[in-house]
Symmetry: C2
């Protein structure tokens, strides 16, 4: 019915929400996100130089290998940024290759600011037409969950998503995230994400959380229930960092079906051969499915 | 005595610590940092397009105008990032122009991560030879102050500095920073910065803090004493955002001599003429000196 569609609507076809797209990908492929972490040591292990050419070769190889297998890929932005603007250009090409290959992308940028500056970060990572646009981006809430509002709203507008740092497994994270007793900082962030996801229909809202795979009993200790979140739980730490699929089920309990496990080095160590990377990805997926 | 100097030491002449360099600049020029905030609206007000050419013209004009007047300039990284890798290349040229002009730079990036990923951010912003290297960078501690260790150590090694987000004036910041009662998150971050600055001699260590100019009575309410910090207090909010120099003295009390006031729009609104920007900078400095 073109009569009822404005020209703008016609130009901007509704993209399904990120939460819906991620839920579909996790159902079809399994709950695995492969981290693209071009650390200097991994580049060397792959026989690549620690320069933009090595960075590009590494990144595009991972995308080629895992795009048809994993639910998502997660390039680690810091590792592109350390190569300056030329490294960021490689990240742009990596995100474009991911989109072309039909795998969801999570730009692991951990950005956070306030007001019009936060809006600028949202613009960079979540706006149609931005060269750095990803399907979703990780955010850091030291300035308050609500300071992330421009990104929450732009993500909703464009069918993109966010993952907000909540409860991490590095020991020093406790000095911020665990503070506040029965109403801890982490608990507040998680409650705010749950409230935000009420704007979304379907099994998963588009506001996910980052919760470490190796947090042990922290959820219980802090009296945190992930059940009401109804957003994906991005859980780094599978494989090389120490968590098994069984650990994930134990740690996340009833929220386990929403967990998107992230493996980086455990899979990347199987490179540089595409076949090796695919075999490692398939084995990781098999382990997750058996849970 | 070349006999006692290793070749590496000879290649890497000791740069004075960032704290010492900043203290000297503040003493010589006054406690003013000019924010370089190429917001879309400001670009339009200056008759520039919201593209990389406009971004570059804006940034280099600010550097040209204020480099001989202000103690530091603070480019807002988000506003370059929203132009993608090409915008980050403009930031590289802005930082290079600042260094050539002899004004200290603070890359307002609010980066934060853990382990080898945090080391990569440190590498990007604080390592000699990195195209994005600035004299200092702002950091966000949601993952714990100690998670910033790679940046703290690389800054010390290269005579660079950091400013860690501590206590901000946006209302939603309270939901993280004020949590914890008499041992709040903000108080812990500030105590950690004070401890870290003990590695530095001189009037200012190289670990600064970001504390909003318009926090009102928050320091008193949270029983926080900035006295022992002995690092610069980067205080955004002078001018257009509402704080006067008299407010700064009242808010920061005995710590006022370590405050580096930041003005962005209050000065930038006087552009695009170099003369206008210089007059606004001089007037802002005069207001600060009169306190």
């Amino acid at each position: 019915m073109p009569e009822s569609a404005s020209p703008q609507q016609a130009q901007q076809p509704a993209r399904e929400s990120f939460g819906s797209r991620l839920a579909a990908a996790m159902a079809a492929r399994g709950p695995l996100c492969v981290g693209i972490d071009p650390h200097p040591q991994l580049l060397a292990d792959w026989g690549l130089n620690d320069d933009v050419a090595g960075l590009e070769r590494f990144s595009l190889t991972v995308v080629e290998a895992v795009a048809s297998l994993a639910a998502a890929v997660k390039p680690q932005v810091a590792l592109y940024e350390r190569h300056g603007s030329a490294g960021m250009a490689v990240l742009e090409r990596t995100l474009a290759a991911s989109a072309e290959s039909g795998v969801l992308s999570i730009a692991d940028a951990k950005r956070g600011d306030i007001g019009s500056t936060m809006a600028a970060y949202a613009d960079a990572w979540l706006r149609d037409g931005s060269s750095l646009a990803a399907d979703s981006v990780t955010l850091s809430p030291y300035l308050g969950f609500e300071s992330l509002r421009p990104a929450l709203d732009l993500a909703a507008q464009y069918g993109r998503g966010v993952f907000v740092l909540a409860l991490t497994s590095n020991p020093e994270g406790k000095s911020v995230q665990h503070i506040g007793g029965s109403d801890s900082v982490a608990r507040r962030i998680i409650a705010a994400a749950a409230a935000e996801n009420q704007r979304y229909d379907g099994s998963l809202g588009s506001v996910g959380l980052v919760v470490g795979a190796t947090i042990g009993s922290a959820l219980e200790d802090l009296d945190i229930d992930l059940g009401p979140v109804r957003g994906a739980i991005l859980a780094p730490g599978l494989g090389a960092q120490g968590a098994t699929p069984a650990d994930l089920r134990k740690t996340f309990g009833a929220a386990y079906p929403t967990v998107l496990a992230t493996s980086s080095r455990g899979i990347l160590a199987a490179g540089p051969s595409v076949e090796g990377l695919r075999a490692a990805t398939a084995a990781t997926l098999a382990g997750l499915r058996s849970e």
